[in-house]
Amino acid sequence: MTKAKVTKGKRIGMTGDEAVANAAAVINPDVVAAYPITPQTIIVEHFSDFVHDGEVDTEFVCVESEHSAMSACVGASATGARVFTASASQGVALMFEILFIASASRLPIVMSVANRALSGPINIHGELTDQTVCRDTGWISLFSESAQEAYDNTFLAFKIGEHPDVSLPVMFGLDGFILTHALEGVFPLDRKFSKDFLPEREMVHPTIPGNPVSSGLLALPNYYMEVKYQQELAMDAARKVIPKAFEEFGEKTGRYYKSVEGYQMEDAETALVTMGALSGTTKFVVDKLRKEGEKVGMIKVKTYRPFPADDLAKALKDVDAVGVIDRDLTFGAPGAALYTDLKTSLYDYKDRPQVFGYIAGIGGRDVLVKDYEYIYKQVLKNKGAEKAVPVEWIGLRK
């Protein structure tokens, strides 16, 4: 298969939020129901401009809360409509109850999450915990490294979620402020591409007038477990659908994504692993360390759910030690979200590296180049340790 050249054409300056709103406008969803919250607000504001100006045909449902937003999305998606929403932090937390209903009802709603730290204390800045806590909701979960990737994820999310083998809701994150509010050059896509890449959604049993169906039903011990098992099968199906969606997107745009992206991994002895915007700086630091002669690479985890366990094991089989940088929190656990999943995934493999955990960038604290360099040094220092090394918090005030 010949791969398209890197996308030609003019890049347009967009913040991450503007990129997502613009992508959603190109997709022209049937329904958007959303409630504004920093740092997502610009997505909704921008999109409502498109509605007002007649640039999209979307029914924009103004709601009084995120709980209502997600409820409206569920209702709309059950009719077979293509539905989009966006939220962050407390907004996602308020939706939590309905997130499970969306996935159990197998409704491929797409939500962009402008990743922000959760209260309290109140904080509006970047952190991925608002999305990592959704790991048990049954949503497919992707992250973005750049405004371009957030733009592209808007298309990919619909492609993956609406695949008949999957039929699951998809959320994709973009780090608050450093992506949502920062302008980058973004290659735009057009309606022609969108129509081709995202054919009209086909729903087997839509709830429409003249075709009454029941959905969101009661299932007691006699059937509940089977419904849940089907959700797990859908996640398994997504593992096959996701790489195909990335491949097709790459052929059409020149931008190829992977659930697990390796960078400078060919002869790497040590690897740093992370998600979201931290991936970009990690690549920068890996280049710097390479120039200094260090055999280090990095892995960017783009797909968080379904967790790409096998891909990670394969990508890391030849390295000795791994430092996982989590920009998310869970308390009283063996470590933060990515660290624990990665470590669990590697356990059954004979060729596996030692894995050390680092927590950084919490509540929007900037993670500096020297912080990554420190983490790398710590991984080298810990390599070969025969006892468990506790997860380390980076950049704490002393």
Binding site: K10, R11, I12, G13, T15, I124, H125, G126, E145, S146, D175, F177, I178, L179, H181, A182, L183, E184, G185, A277, L278, S279, G280, T281, K283, F284, D287, K288, G364, D366, V367, L368, V369
Partner: protein, 187 residues
């Protein structure tokens, strides 16, 4: 410079003076030249009148770094009332550049600003230009004219193009005129 060929710029002004717009136009001008950019405000709530910052990172080569800008190569001061009242030099690199909106003499600027690093100073009376060309003391675009004259980080024509694209019609034309005047008058 955090890496090869990357120029980090910090804009200083007050909320409502178009600091973020200046950082964006600089980036959009660089995009016209097919360069790579990252432009952003100081993150958090904005308050009208309070000192604020905007940032632009520009490189001829693609870059992936996503930190904020802590060690700028260049600072651009939009509002002269910040000089002597705000720590404008924080993190500014040795050998860096200061471009200030300032009506007084160069000696006055240097003694008032309180920057200890070895840097090069430039100044332009941007408030005067803005008042005369735009009819109000908003200096964000004016200072871009001074910035590109001194640093060549982007071409003046592309700043004008990006400005005209952002402010269509008469307002854009007036801003372009003001940019060109600052380009000539900065010293």
């Amino acid at each position: 410079m955090v890496g090869d060929n990357i120029t980090d710029i910090r804009f200083h002004g007050r909320g409502g003076q178009g600091v973020v717009t200046a950082s964006r136009i600089a980036a959009e001008a660089a995009l016209v030249e097919d360069k790579y950019v990252h432009a952003f405000p100081a993150f958090g709530p904005e308050r009208a009148g309070a000192p604020i910052e905007g940032f632009t990172r520009i490189s001829p080569k693609a870059f992936t770094i996503k930190t904020e800008i802590h060690y700028p190569d260049i600072i651009v001061i939009l509002d002269p009332t910040l000089i002597g009242t705000v720590n404008l030099g924080k993190g500014l690199k040795e050998g860096g550049i200061v471009i200030a909106n300032f009506a007084g003499s160069m000696d006055e600027l240097k003694s008032k600003i309180g920057i200890k690093q070895k840097v090069t100073f430039y100044k332009v009376d941007a408030t005067k230009i803005a008042n005369e060309e735009l009819g109000r003391p908003i200096t964000n675009t004016v200072m871009l004219g001074a910035l590109v004259k001194i640093t060549n980080v982007v071409e003046i024509d592309n700043v004008c193009e990006a400005t005209a694209a952002r402010f269509p019609g008469v307002i854009g034309e007036k801003n372009v005129k003001a940019i060109k005047r600052a380009y000539e008058e900065v010293q």
